[in-house]
């Protein structure tokens, strides 16, 4: 592992990374489907469901597995409640991040005090919410499929994001089913969603 790679990875968190030009590398037919999916995702006032997450880190002999439930609402942002392997709660809005393990006092980060943290979480929320403008700024978006069954590949447009993330693959139907984040150094994050309920 070289130093540069680490530095670049760290930078992933250090600056916000947003890019110009709306460039959807999809055939015209798919664009309609893409817009439909966008609307589907954006329409949801809130959704909640279960997740399982697998983080593959090459230097570890086995992947890190976790599971729990989550909710996402326009107002409150994302609530990520992990039950296994240890209970923890993460809430993320555009200006506030709270992390809490078990019954320990929560760790609160606010945008006013630690704006850097929020540069990255902004992207994460965009991915989760299907926020078109947010995603377009940072990624090239390739879309295939129909509004019922679709795949979307997000490729970072510029440095330093592209030095850390190879691609983000999203797939789903009416709602998002899976997120796969591929690291340039072959580490990987897979999040699967189930029992997702939507309130519009």
């Amino acid at each position: 592992m070289n130093r540069k790679a680490i530095i670049l990875t760290l930078l992933f968190s250090f600056f916000s990374l947003i890019v110009t030009n709306i460039s959807i590398a999809s055939p015209i037919a798919d664009q309609h489907a893409f817009i439909a999916v966008q609307q589907q995702l954006a329409q949801a006032k809130s959704l909640h469901g279960k997740f399982t997450q697998k983080r593959v880190i090459k230097v570890l002999s086995k992947p890190l597995l976790s599971s729990g439930h989550f909710s996402l609402s326009q107002k409150q942002g994302l609530k990520w409640i992990q039950e296994k392997p240890f209970p923890s709660t993460l809430t993320l809005s555009s200006s506030r991040l709270t992390q809490r393990i078990g019954n320990n006092p929560p760790m609160v980060l606010t945008k006013a005090k630690q704006p850097i943290v929020f540069s990255f979480s902004k992207i994460f929320l965009s991915v989760f919410k299907g926020d078109k403008t947010g995603l377009n700024q940072s990624f090239k978006i390739a879309f295939t499929g129909t509004p019922q069954h679709w795949n979307m590949t997000l490729t970072p447009k510029s440095s330093p994001l592209n030095k850390a993330v190879k691609s983000i693959k999203l797939s789903g139907g009416k709602i998002i089913k899976q997120i796969i984040v591929d690291n340039v150094k072959h580490d990987q994050l897979i999040i699967k969603f189930s029992d997702v309920k939507v309130t519009s």
């Binding site: 670049l8 002999s61 005090k113 330093p160 072959h186 580490d187």
Partner: protein
């Protein structure tokens, strides 16, 4: 020609020639003009190294300019900013321009800190490790590993297994809420994309020549940006824009008001005397006074304050009175008028006038304030010289100039004289009583104000732009700062840490109360402490167990632990930090060695209260709080206080003087016009809701000097009240034209000065003939005229 006159003239000429040659020498070598208003404070409160550091820093921040180029469309915003940048980038007028941030620079923060990562901890991690709360650190690490938004990778886990370094980097304060987008610092707000360009000027913001060059270049760049797209807007902020606007309005005002008053006086003199030579001679008397005063002040004090020069120039208003008085006497002296006899007619009047001013300013000079001392010396020397010119030169050049016509002004003043001569003492008493009542009501409404921020009338559009920019970049950082001095860079740094922790403790609710480089660099001692905490508590004890728990194979654990264990302590020094490209935008907070001290600066938020900041400065040695606006306001208030006391004292001395010379009744009668000139001025300020400032009081001293001249001229007139009335009128009109017109100024300070003079002199002029009647009855009968 009288021999005595010739000797007097020769002496005068020698003195003038000496002064003029000295004046020219000073002018061509070093004018030594001191524009720093803080120097007007008594010397003990100013430490020279602090003063130097604060000047250095103020100059630096005065040279900064921020541009925000915006457009609703992101691409167009970037393009507009690029075009703007290209225009200014080529110019030598800027020493640095920060715009695009390349990859190397983006990585510079992480690259700078990475080798020192075991010595750098976020405040929370440091606290937990001090408490031996290893569990907390481990939990935070697990949280990061499992969190969907966590940034973890193989390489990170090896180099920073507990994510301490990551937390350190992400908790570093960010000076502005600006994001890096496409290598450009940008803000997305109000449905617009704003692109930030930061520039540092090469030259001085107060240099007029530099201002013109910079502003025209910026206009050019702005045109480039606006041509890119019609929706593009350019916001900018910098001291230079305020300085330029101030200089422009001052120039505009001085030229219109100045030309107006010069034309007015020219017309006045010409209409009255039908010749321009009186004007030239009058100006000569004023000019010799100014030159002599300048030379003496310069030689005695070595440097001369701008303050002295500006208010010293107001002496011209007094000095022309002597000449006018002489001229009026000549005008009405008829065919047989002789210069020497004319002089005798006015000699006592103008001598007493001068004596009065000398006493007034001598009282002013007792104060410990260098500004007032200078002003007093300037006034006394200047007026004495003007007086000498009138007394020594005028008798030689003035010839009888019989009245062939009755100038319109003379008819006016004659009418005024007649009017007053027909008003009885009883009526005059009534007028004074009514006036006293009017004054009383006005004066009770009078308020004071010394706040320079309110005295400066800053242009609205500039203030608006500044506010908008500050809101957009999320910065509350203002112009107040601490200067921190120490024997070594390390000590300076640790003092800064002491100070910033005090600030956090006192203002815990504030996210960014200050901007300090110490936030980006712990002291060597702190770093050593962090290193010891990390190595002993984490790496040597718990690391292996933790890595095993998250599933790292034994061989990999061995490798990771060995690699981390091999990192020796080496502090990140201020020098290294300063040399890194990462610190580019914060480097201005380090002033280097100023005199014998290593000096740094902590810039403060506008939201912090000055008095509290001042108190905190006392808690850390060699820390000075600098708030120039408040300091200047303080100078003003101290000066205002002292001058008002002195003014009262001068009025008492004046009364005593008048009573001693003219007896109780006459003395009081002569005393009333100068007194009411002052009271009416004050009352009008009250009625008009204009706060009393230092500048009003300085104007009142001028009013006092001139109005006392008027009554003394009347009191010492034995030949013709007509000439006195005419001289008084000429003096009043010229004073009003040269100073009263200043009340049209949009600059508050100048306006205040002008309006005070306007009301004071008008009142003095109107009331001065009230002294005639009684006096004419008693004195002119008792004494022979001095002719």
């Amino acid at each position: 020609m009288n021999r005595a006159f010739k000797i007097r003239f020769t002496l005068w000429l020698i003195v003038v020639l000496v002064f003029v040659s000295l004046f020219l020498r000073i002018l061509f070598t070093d004018s030594g003009l001191n524009t720093n208003i803080l120097d007007l404070l008594p010397k003990t409160t100013q430490d020279s190294s602090v003063h130097k550091a604060s000047q250095l820093f103020t100059r630096q921040i005065g040279q900064k300019i921020i541009f925000l180029i915006s457009n609703p469309n992101q691409a167009l915003a970037e393009q507009s900013a690029d075009n703007f940048y290209q225009t200014i980038a080529k110019s030598p007028l800027f020493s640095t321009i920060n715009y695009k941030i390349d990859q190397l620079e983006q990585q510079s923060w992480a690259s700078l800190y990475f080798p020192y990562r075991l010595s750098l901890l976020s405040p929370d991690d440091q606290k937990q490790l001090e408490k031996h709360n290893i569990q907390h650190i481990e939990q935070s690490a697990l949280m990061a590993l499992y969190s969907p938004i966590g940034i973890s990778s193989s390489s990170l886990l090896e180099k920073d297994p507990y994510f301490n370094f990551q937390r350190f980097l992400t908790t570093l304060p960010k000076p502005a809420a600006v994001d890096l987008i496409n290598s450009r610092p940008m803000i997305h707000a109000n449905n617009r994309w704003y692109v930030l360009i930061n520039a540092q000027l090469e030259g001085n913001s107060f240099s007029l020549e530099n201002q013109n060059r910079v502003i025209s270049l910026i206009e050019q760049a702005k045109t480039q940006a606006l041509n890119t797209n019609k929706h593009t807007q350019v916001l900018m902020n910098g001291l230079i824009f305020y300085a330029k606007s101030g200089a422009d309005s001052a120039q505009h005002e001085i030229s219109t008001i100045g030309i107006g008053s010069v034309l007015g006086i020219l017309l006045l003199v010409f209409l009255t005397f039908r010749s321009l030579s009186p004007l030239l001679l009058t100006l000569l008397s004023a000019a010799t006074g100014f030159v002599a005063a300048f030379v003496v002040v310069k030689l005695y004090f070595s440097s001369i304050y701008l303050f002295t020069l500006v208010f010293g120039a107001s002496l011209i208003g007094i000095s022309v009175d002597y000449a006018f008085f002489y001229y009026a006497d000549r005008l009405l002296g008829g065919d047989r008028w002789q210069a020497s006899k004319g002089l005798k007619n006015i000699f006592i009047g103008i001598s007493l006038g001068l004596l009065n001013v000398v006493i007034a300013y001598s009282i002013l000079s007792i104060t410990p304030f260098p500004g007032l001392k200078q002003l007093a010396v300037f006034a006394i020397v200047g007026l004495s010289m003007s007086y000498a010119t009138v007394v020594c030169l005028f008798p030689l050049v003035l010839k009888a100039c019989p009245l062939k016509h009755t100038p319109i002004l003379l008819r006016l003043t004659d009418a005024n004289l007649k009017l007053w001569q027909n008003i009885g003492q009883r009526k005059i008493k009534l007028i004074y009583s009514l006036l006293a009542l009017v004054c009383l009501f006005g004066i009770v409404q009078l308020k004071t104000n010394d706040d320079i921020r309110q005295l400066q009338s800053l242009p609205q559009h500039l203030q608006h732009a500044e506010k908008e920019i500050k809101t957009l970049i999320g910065s509350k950082i203002g112009n107040r700062f601490y200067i921190i001095q120490a024997d070594s860079p390390q000590k300076m740094l640790s003092k800064q840490h002491q100070l910033t922790s005090l600030l956090h403790k006192n203002f815990p609710e504030m996210a960014t109360p200050y901007l300090s480089l110490s936030d980006y660099l712990p002291t060597a001692r702190e770093q050593q402490k962090n290193y010891d905490l990390v190595t002993t508590q984490l790496i040597h004890h718990h690391l292996r167990e933790y890595l095993k728990k998250i599933g790292m194979p034994p061989q990999q654990i061995q490798h990771t632990a060995q690699q981390l264990g091999a990192i020796k302590f080496k502090p990140l020094t201020l020098e290294t930090w300063l040399d890194s490209p990462a610190s580019k935008s914060l480097r201005f907070l380090w002033l280097g060695k100023v005199e014998q001290y290593y000096t740094g600066v902590v810039l403060l938020s506008d939201e912090l209260p000055s008095n509290k900041l001042q108190l905190l400065a006392h808690q850390v040695p060699e820390v000075t709080f600098v708030d120039q606006a408040t300091q200047v306001s303080h100078v003003f208030s101290v000066y205002r206080y002292h001058i008002s006391i002195l003014l009262a004292l001068i009025y008492i001395v004046l009364l005593a003087f008048l009573v001693v010379r003219y007896g109780l009744y006459q003395g009081i009668q002569l005393y009333l016009p100068p007194l009411f000139a002052c009271l009416v001025s004050l009352a009008m300020l009250g009625y008009l809701s204009i706060p009393l400032t230092l500048f009003n009081l300085l104007a009142l001293i001028l009013v006092l000097g001139i109005s006392t001249d008027y009554v003394l001229f009347f009191a010492e007139t034995y030949s013709s009240y007509r000439s006195t009335m005419l001289a008084t009128f000429l003096s009043a009109v010229s004073t009003i034209l040269s100073f009263g017109l200043l009340s049209l100024s949009s600059t508050a300070v100048i306006h205040d000065f002008g309006i005070t003079v306007l009301f004071g002199i008008t009142t003095a002029f109107i009331l001065s003939p009230t002294v005639i009647k009684e006096h004419a009855r008693s004195y002119s009968l008792r004494r022979e005229p001095l002719v």
